[in-house]
């Protein structure tokens, strides 16, 4: 079989394994849905959120939905893959694969494609949950859905590659969650996932602008919030051009780092 076909074989087994591992399923797959539920329930008394007098208003849940979509991409890509690969490296899974004629690229294809597919299912569940349980209105304009498609695809590919690249950092499988989760949490707090980005201090906004999550969240806000909300963004516009550029930049960086650092086993020479 060729590299692509083997990538498809790996994808299948990655997905089967993913759904048989309860902890991964809970923390990456259901996390955004649970968080959206908690946020919406906790702040249900706060009332609607608007851009200002006379501007558009949305419910609290609707305001948090784009952040949860972005967080889902980050978790499915970075957190899930970085932790899983670090663990596979330390428990001998990768050493065993490295002794077979499986091309490393097929392994990566399996990781990325399974992230994409499980991520899309996660997104659909999240949107269904938002629509049916919280009555959050979803965009009706097909152009918004097209934006969602490319931002999501670019986002999940970038985050998957960054997850693969980041998996080289933890020195053991057991320390993987301790290395990866604080990093992911930190990014979520400064990038406008849990806290409204517009209310963060300027230095924090500037810091977040170096990282992909801020742009991913911004892109998702452009999809799910009324157009009038762009007045809350930096420069009062959605800036989808920059969203594409920064995500693509991190994609290339992830590709280069992965190419340079990936080994089946920790090398000794």
């Amino acid at each position: 079989m060729n590299t692509i076909a083997l990538g498809a074989v790996r994808t299948r087994y990655e997905i089967v394994s993913y759904f048989r591992q309860f902890d991964a399923l809970f923390f990456t797959f259901l996390f955004p849905i649970i968080m959206l539920g908690i946020f919406t329930a906790a702040f249900s008394a706060t009332g609607d959120i608007g851009t200002g007098p006379g501007g558009p208003k949305v419910s609290f849940g609707a305001y948090y939905l784009p952040g949860m979509v972005a967080a889902g991409v980050l978790l499915s890509g970075v957190q899930n893959l970085a932790v899983a690969i670090a663990q596979e490296k330390s428990d001998g899974t990768l050493k065993r694969l490295g002794g077979t004629p499986l091309p490393p690229l097929s392994y990566f294809i399996g990781k990325m494609l399974s992230s994409l597919l499980t991520g899309v299912v996660q997104l659909i569940l999240l949107l269904l949950f938002a629509r049916t349980v919280f009555g959050i209105a979803l965009p009706s304009d097909p152009e918004r859905w097209l934006d969602l498609a490319w931002i999501y695809l670019l986002g999940i590919l970038t985050c998957s590659l960054l997850g693969i690249a980041l998996s080289a950092v933890p020195r053991s499988g057991r320390s993987a969650t301790a290395v990866v989760i604080p990093l992911v949490l930190f990014l979520q707090f400064i990038s406008g996932v849990y806290l409204p980005f517009a209310q963060l201090p300027t230095w924090m906004q500037n810091l977040a602008s170096f990282f992909p999550l801020k742009w991913l969240a911004q892109g998702m806000r452009s999809v799910f919030l009324p157009d009038g909300f762009k007045t809350l963004e930096v420069g009062h516009e959605w800036n989808l051009g920059w969203v594409a550029l920064v995500l693509a930049g991190w994609l290339v960086l992830g590709l280069v780092v992965t190419r340079l650092t990936f080994r089946w086993i920790r090398t000794d020479a």
Binding site: D91, T93, G99
Partner: protein, 305 residues
């Protein structure tokens, strides 16, 4: 498989040092201690095509270091290595994958939490190879037919080890590396495993085996190499290793309060003399030929001295 004149594995002056130039270790590497540990200290051996060769030695003797260099996992410090006509550390890209397709590896221990079933895992691995064995045949050969649809992480230790062996042979390797393959097997599982290895050998598979079970090496290996402290102490056919002196039999019998023992090249004559002296059967008479284990222990003790 064509029989070729050059051996399946050729090792010359192999050395492996750890430490020193190694990257920063886990913890406590702040100081500038650059002590190197020599795991393999200049060893030579060949493995012929279709031969079963056992590498024996105490823990830390350098067996796994040697085998993992041959498998292409580690780079050597010095010496020459040829495995199926290629130097694993010089192979890259497609040539490396093609070479990996011709070898099978059973690593010393695998602790992965594998949620796939035995059959799913084997199907997956079979798809990596150009000419795999039929999956159900392999499952049957390792005696896991009853467990084919069980999740691997719900198997016992010995059953998981059989999965390891199955994954190592599913690609129909020309050369099979078995690093302590029967750890955790019960005696009957070990017998079944021996049968499997003999069948593989009969099909022409070359096999490099390490084991702590000397009876296993005696049963399976055409030749054995014994290493201690990174050096090859002796190498040769199972029935000749250690030299003729190491194989001089013992005659043991009870006399007076204790057990008497005497080594002799002529046990029959000694037994006859004893029979004459006792005027019948000498009590608790035994004639013992040193097993591979006895010879091994003598050689290891000799190497340490």
């Amino acid at each position: 498989m064509t029989s070729s004149p050059e051996p399946a594995v050729a090792v010359r002056g192999l050395r492996k040092e750890y430490g020193g130039s190694e990257g920063t270790g886990s913890t406590g590497s702040i100081g500038s201690t650059r002590s190197t540990v020599t795991a393999v200290d200049g060893i030579d051996f060949d493995i012929g095509h279709g031969e079963v060769f056992a590498l024996l030695g105490p823990n830390g003797a350098g067996k796994s270091s040697t085998i993992e260099i041959l498998e292409g996992y580690h780079r050597r410090t010095a010496g020459d290595v040829e495995v199926l006509g290629a130097d694993p550390q010089r192979l890259h890209g497609r040539a490396l994958l093609a070479w990996k397709a011709r070898i099978g590896i059973v690593l010393q221990s695998a602790s992965e939490q594998n949620v796939l079933t035995v059959r799913q895992m084997l199907r997956q691995f079979a798809s990596f190879y150009p000419h795999p064995r039929p999956v159900d045949e392999v499952i049957d050969a390792v005696g896991l037919t009853q467990k084919a649809n069980a999740r691997i992480d719900r198997l016992s230790g010995g059953q998981r080890r059989r999965v390891d062996v199955a994954l190592g042979i599913v690609g129909r390797p020309e050369l099979l590396f078995l690093d302590e393959p029967t750890t955790g097997f019960d005696p009957s599982a070990r017998r079944e495993f021996w049968g499997l290895i003999r069948r593989l050998r009969d099909e022409g598979t070359s096999i490099l085996l390490t084991t702590h079970y000397l009876d296993e090496a005696a049963q399976l290996a055409d030749r054995v190499g014994i290493i201690a402290a990174g050096r090859l102490v002796d190498i040769g056919p199972v029935d000749r290793i250690g030299g003729a002196e190491a194989r001089v039999p013992y005659v043991r019998w009870a006399e007076g309060a204790g057990i008497r023992e005497q080594r002799t090249h002529e046990p029959a004559r000694l037994v006859a003399e004893l029979a004459a002296r006792f005027g019948g059967e000498p009590p608790r008479l035994e004639v013992i030929r040193p097993s591979l284990e006895d010879v091994y222990l003598q050689l290891i003790r000799g190497a340490a001295a």
